[in-house]
């Protein structure tokens, strides 16, 4: 019965490789059937997708501590491990979390000792006589981890400072903002998720998505959520990562970022503050920056299917400062306006920032209604100010007290929306610089907000 179940689960996993629950179930069944090595394989693959998955860690632990039947430990593999020693296996053992750590020190030689220790449970003394065959286990994991390193190139270019991560947030973690989610789905996610429909309608995946809006309204968070939705790696690129005083190095850094994203595909490459990196070339006398814009254009255009699996996102507060060439079809041709959070989103943000603080009597509904126009960052600041009031009060009186509704409403009274100046600039853009209707969405919002 188990065999049948296992084989049907195998088929299901083959169909839905990203379904963590299926993998977990299969791993547990395999372990129950005595196939610890394959259970480890599945546990590790789950940890690649979701490094924090407690069940997968438990499965891995159970599989490690289950004595393997002699017949199932392939001695040949152990020997193979000995032969392949030049690459210390522990370096390959690490699931994604540890890989990120290793990537932060690209030039360092892999040191098997610390990694071997890291395999031990924290706080436990290493046993003099281990009951488990660690070499075999390492070898098992070594095999499953192989695809991550098959190109033999380090996933981080030498000298670069890019860190790639696996996003764990999805759009479901973004409170409210339904219209933005709908727009993202229509403009970006639906074509990506439905390859058949995409083929049917001959919809091209070429081009990136530009998110714009007032500062502090969650553009970066949404970019992470998109990566999470796509189950893709997330590579965030800021101005500081690209700018290099050496001639040509800034362009090289742009190239390296795209190369890294291509190697780690599927990968979301996210350019924050694209207005700085992709500034109108007519506005800058800085030759380094002009070269960077040119390089960015080259990378976005790609060659043939070079950018297959690379999803390019960018965010800016000032889309009007972005070089028009970057906005042409096939580049950042889709735009999404990320506005200050709506009521539902504001409630989520208040809840998020207050839930781990000592609060009492907070009426989220009232706060939500009173905080119209505030950005997410403003709300975070309101909660900070409220906490500060309670803290100072407690320190002064010597008596601990909770953060009350009054603290938060007083803090709300002190904070003015940081989005106002942005909205003034946006009004000028709509009034004077929107001859081609690029900012129709913004215009509609400003009219609705009675700012136009």
């Amino acid at each position: 019965m188990d065999e049948q179940l296992i084989s049907s689960l195998r088929r299901a996993v083959a169909t839905s490789p990203d379904d963590i629950h299926l993998r977990l179930l299969l791993g547990q069944l395999l372990l129950k059937n005595g196939d610890a090595s394959e259970a480890i394989t599945f546990a590790a693959s789950i940890l690649q997708l979701s490094p924090d998955n407690v069940d997968a860690r438990q499965l891995m632990n159970d599989a490690f501590t289950t004595p393997a039947p002699a017949a199932t430990v392939p001695t040949a593999t152990v020997e193979q491990l000995e032969v392949e020693r030049p690459v210390p296996p522990a370096a390959n053992v690490a699931p994604d979390l540890d890989v990120a750590q290793a990537r932060s020190e690209p030039s360092a030689e892999p040191d098997p000792e610390p990694n071997a220790e890291s395999s031990t449970q924290p706080g436990t003394e290493p046993s003099a006589e281990p009951t488990f065959d660690w070499s075999a286990a390492e070898n098992d994991v070594h095999e499953l981890a192989q695809p991550m390193f098959v190109d033999s190139e380090p996933s981080k270019a030498p000298g670069s400072s890019f860190d790639i991560e696996r996003s764990v947030v999805t759009l479901a973690d973004v409170g409210g903002m339904k219209s933005i989610k709908d727009r993202l789905n229509a403009a970006f996610l639906a074509p990506l998720r439905n390859p058949e429909l995409r083929k049917l309608y001959a919809k091209s995946l070429k081009g990136g998505l530009l998110m714009y809006g007032p500062p502090g309204c969650g553009k970066t968070f949404i970019a992470r959520a998109i990566a999470g939705e796509l189950g893709a790696h997330f590579l965030s690129v800021g101005l500081a990562d690209i700018l290099d005083p050496m001639l040509g190095n800034s362009e090289q850094n742009v190239h390296e970022a795209f190369q890294l994203a291509r190697r780690e595909a599927p990968c979301v490459i996210f350019f924050d503050e694209i207005d700085a990196l992709g500034q109108r070339r007519s506005q800058t006398r800085n030759s380094a920056l002009r070269g960077t814009v040119n390089q960015l254009l080259t990378e976005l255009d790609g060659v043939a299917d070079q950018n297959e699996g690379v999803f390019v996102l960018a965010a800016t507060n000032q889309p009007w400062d972005v070089d028009p060439a970057l906005r042409r079809p096939g580049r950042f041709d889709r735009t999404v306006l990320v506005l200050p959070p709506d009521e539902e989103a504001r409630e989520s943000i208040f809840r998020y920032h207050l839930q781990h603080r000592p609060v009492e009597g907070i009426e989220l509904g009232a706060l939500t209604r009173a905080s119209g126009g505030l950005s997410g960052a403003d709300i975070a600041y309101v909660c900070e100010v409220a906490a500060e009031r309670a803290l100072i009060d407690s320190a002064t009186t010597g008596e601990l007290r909770m953060i009350t509704m009054k603290d938060v409403t007083d803090a709300l009274g002190e904070v003015t929306p940081s989005t106002s100046s942005w909205l003034d600039s946006a009004r000028n853009v709509v009034l004077f610089g929107d001859d081609d209707g690029t900012y129709a969405e913004l215009k509609a919002y400003l009219k609705k907000a009675k700012r136009l």
Partner: protein, 360 residues
Amino acid sequence: MTEHAAKPEDAALTHARTYLSLGKPADALRALAPHLASHPDDDRGLCLASQAHLVAGEASRALDAAQHAAALTPENEWAWRLVALSYSKLGHHAEARAAAATAQSIAPQLWVTHAQVAQVDIAAKRITAESQNAAREATRLAPLEPDAHLTVGNVALAQHDWPTAEAAFRSVLRLEPEHAAARNNLSLVMLRQGKAGSAAAGFVDILANDPDSEVAVRNLRAVAAVALRHVHFILWVAFAIVTVAFSSAGQPDESPVYGLAWSEFLGGVALVSGIVVLVYVLRLRRAAGARFGQFIRSVPRLDNLLTAWAALLVADYLLMVAACFTSVHRAQLLYLLAGAVLVAGSVVVILRRNRARVRL
């Protein structure tokens, strides 16, 4: 030293320069911080820090950094120029002038030192022959440098020498068509020369390229105010003519002749004033070209008081026209109401002026 062979400490300075060119003074200061911590006496780092503080609007910090640099390397003209600029921003014009003169004496071969002298004088609103000579010397030394011509234009603008200013700003735009300051100042010259339509088009153009330009928004409001002031003046004149013509008339109100004369005279004045206003608006439209519509549509969004003012002027004219088609008693009432509306318009003008003063 080539950029390829740049020392590590130069990297921080290059980073800071790049951030400054992007208008990001905070990032520039962040890039400079470790460099200045390890090289507190590097005059180049201090000058860049001073420049970043100036861009960030922190003139006293800029002055501290620049003075430190000037004390370390008294022959560094850059440091002295920054001292001059910082003092100028702080309103200490005599000290600014002395520092600018020091920079000029250190490096008379550099156009920027001469331009700095002229700029300090412009800020102090004390244009002398020396300022003019300094500006001219800057363009002689660097004829292809837009900012040298800009200085000449700014000196002329401060002296109300509109033709020289216009020529200088046009020279800047020939060298750098997107030069924001030159475009703004050229539009300002147009406005001062009574070419409000061209000025409006210029400011709308600036805002289309740089929507963050508060100066352009302020100047566009000024253009709208100038236009409304013209219309307001025309309507005041019309009101005054009718008042003077009939205040001395001895005929009784009931007389049909009086009524006819009143209606016809008022109608004639309303027609003439309407034509004058129309001609003025058409001239504005022709001068502003395609930007006229944007200018008109933008006014209500830029300033509520301007909108109120315009609405009062329209109401005044409508009252005048309505008075032509009604009985004498009612017409006189409407006429008086029109006068009250004109007065209300003047009150709005005073309110706008006061608000502008508070903003400054």
